[in-house]
């Protein structure tokens, strides 16, 4: 089966511009997660979708970030306007069930490396 796909793989934008990241989860996976890793720091949770609904968005840093998952399939994460501190790698993950209740873990995409200059 196809894995979790993220694009673009890299994006370099200027401060103040808008960027939209996309994540295509594994087909049939209801749960979709966004994470971010700023250089040298931990991988931080941003939000969790169950189908098209936001289950938990407690990790979203501020209102410049908007995540959507229309139709419960792919998800987008828009940053508008982008700031320098938004630079980092944005990961998406999907799972068919919630929680570590099975041994195969979550399937992560390759990430989008965002650089704001």
């Amino acid at each position: 089966e196809a894995g979790v796909t993220q694009f673009p793989s890299h994006s370099v934008i200027e401060k103040g511009q808008t960027v939209t990241l996309r994540c295509d989860p594994i087909s049939g996976h209801d749960n979709l997660y966004w994470y971010r890793r700023v250089m040298g720091k931990e991988i931080k949770f941003l939000l969790h979708f169950v189908k098209e609904s936001k289950q938990d968005e407690s990790g979203m840093p501020n209102n410049r970030f908007l995540a959507e998952r229309t139709g419960g399939t792919y998800s987008t994460l828009k940053v508008q306007p982008a700031e320098l501190e938004d630079s980092g790698v944005y990961f998406c993950a999907s799972s068919s069930r919630t929680g570590f209740i099975y041994s195969s873990g979550y399937t992560f995409g390759s990430g989008t490396r965002l650089t704001v200059v």
Binding site: G40, I43, K44, T98, S110, G111
Partner: protein
């Protein structure tokens, strides 16, 4: 602050040596997972250990869990250059949202 913290932050060894990384966490967990991230790639799930387990093996990987000390270790035996990557532990504290640390950067010299 993050739930899991990996130690050391960086580890450099020669091919064939064993690599040991540790993870400490703060609150009680249901499960703990280890992931690997190769440069420029996504996170790859390595192994899961449940809170009622003490040790698990998968190929050259050995994971231990000590819930009394709130710590886990990942041992990679007979390391290879291809093991060069960042390694993260992720804990599940009941919210079913995996919580990651900063990771250990492992370099294996051929």
């Amino acid at each position: 602050s993050q739930q899991g913290e990996e130690d050391p932050q960086a580890l450099s060894i020669q091919e064939g040596e064993n690599a040991t990384m540790n993870c400490s966490y703060k609150t009680s967990i249901n499960n703990l997972q280890w992931y690997r991230q190769n440069s420029g790639r996504g996170l790859v799930h390595l192994i899961l250990i449940r809170s009622n387990e003490r040790e698990k093996h998968s190929g050259r990987l050995r994971v231990t869990l000590d819930t009394s000390k709130k710590s886990s270790s990942l041992l990679i035996t007979a390391s290879r250059a291809a093991d060069t990557a960042s390694y993260f532990c992720a804990t599940d504290v009941g919210s079913y949202i995996p919580t990651f640390g900063r990771g250990t950067s492992l370099i294996v010299h051929p």
